[in-house]
Amino acid sequence: MKRLKRRYLGLQLDVEKAPGERDFMDAVWTSVTRIYGEYGASLTSLALISYDSEGRTGVIRSNLAAVENVRAALATITSIGGKAAAVHVLAVSGTIKALRQNLES
């Protein structure tokens, strides 16, 4: 079976008070499901890799084929946990190591 390629997305949360990990992922799943439906969301293979509430950054993983859809869905997030928020993509990379290097540089 052919291995699915993945992409890791480094995210920055633009929000006054940092939300919890669960609220953050709920917002991501809700936006993907609203835009692309449950079938579309199932093709993204979304997963939370890490989340830093103090730094308001997070890393999520997605299928390469669905990465543009995920980015479009992330742009539609306007609230997290009932508070006004925005999620910006800082970097996209094929490995977590390269992503961290990208974010540091």
């Binding site: 633009d14 609203r34 835009i35 543009e68 980015r71 479009a72 992330l74 742009a75 539609t76 306007t78 006004a84 928020a85 925005a86 910006h88 993509v89």
Partner: protein, 244 residues
């Protein structure tokens, strides 16, 4: 060549200086190089100068834009006559069919905006696009409704937009995607706006052009016209005097 990203529709009230400052700073932080805030007929020259200074402080190129909401064709023509040489971008908010048709025909109009969410009252159809393609007007899409609407309303809005964008592309009309937001938290990075455009049928280069080349071209064309020495497109006075 590096793209110059622009957002020609920030809904900042020029009297509300702190909000304008926040919006403009956020736009600069997100990677925009050119912004236009929505000015009205009542906006004073000093207010425009202040907004321009705020933009210059954060390294943004400010474009003066006015949104016209005329009640009749005659009023539209009067406003265009009065304002064309005062603003770099003129956008007509088309709320009736009569205004939409007149605005599409007139070469002094730069952008056509259809703000109504009711699909029966959005007048961008093939006839409108054909008129606009003969003129100089572009089709402006605000992404704000995509962010704030939910459920069936957003579905209907996206469906309308997809149809209108397809018509605009068929008639080779320049499409300009703007934010149309009044809160900094609703601003998105240029590439995020381009990706958002994919959900209403603008993909790849067309989406990127809608936030970079197309608006920059509109502004460049008008700046050339408003500059000194302009005679006709491609013809300008470079020297004047008895020794010419």
């Amino acid at each position: 060549m590096k793209r110059v990203f622009s957002d020609l529709h920030l809904q900042a009230n020029s009297k509300d200086k702190p909000l304008t400052q926040k919006l403009v700073s956020k736009a600069a932080e997100l990677g925009y190089k050119m912004v236009a805030t929505q000015l009205t007929l009542e906006t004073k020259f000093e207010e425009i100068r202040e907004v321009k200074a705020i933009c210059a402080d954060v390294g943004l190129d400010f474009v003066s834009r006015v949104d016209l909401r005329p009640g009749s064709q005659e009023e539209l023509l009067y406003l265009l006559r009065r304002l064309r040489r005062r603003f770099e971008v003129i956008c007509v908010v088309c709320e009736t069919k009569e205004i939409a048709r007149q605005a599409a025909k007139d070469r002094r109009v730069d952008l056509l905006n259809f703000p109504l969410l009711d699909y029966r009252r959005r007048f961008f159809d093939r006839a409108e696009a054909e008129l606009a393609s003969a003129g100089a007007a572009g089709f402006e899409v605000d992404v704000k409704p995509i962010l704030v609407l939910e459920g069936a309303a957003r579905v209907r809005f996206l469906s309308c937009l997809r149809r209108e964008v397809a018509i605009a592309q068929e008639f080779r009309l320049p499409i300009v995607v703007s934010s149309g937001v009044s809160e900094p938290v609703l601003l998105r990075k240029p590439r995020e706006v381009a990706l958002l455009s994919s959900i209403f049928g603008l993909t790849g280069d067309a989406a990127l052009n809608a936030i970079s080349r197309n608006p920059v071209k509109v502004v460049g064309r008008n700046r050339e016209k408003l500059g000194t020495g302009f005679v006709a497109p491609g013809i300008r006075i470079i020297k004047q005097g008895e020794d010419c």
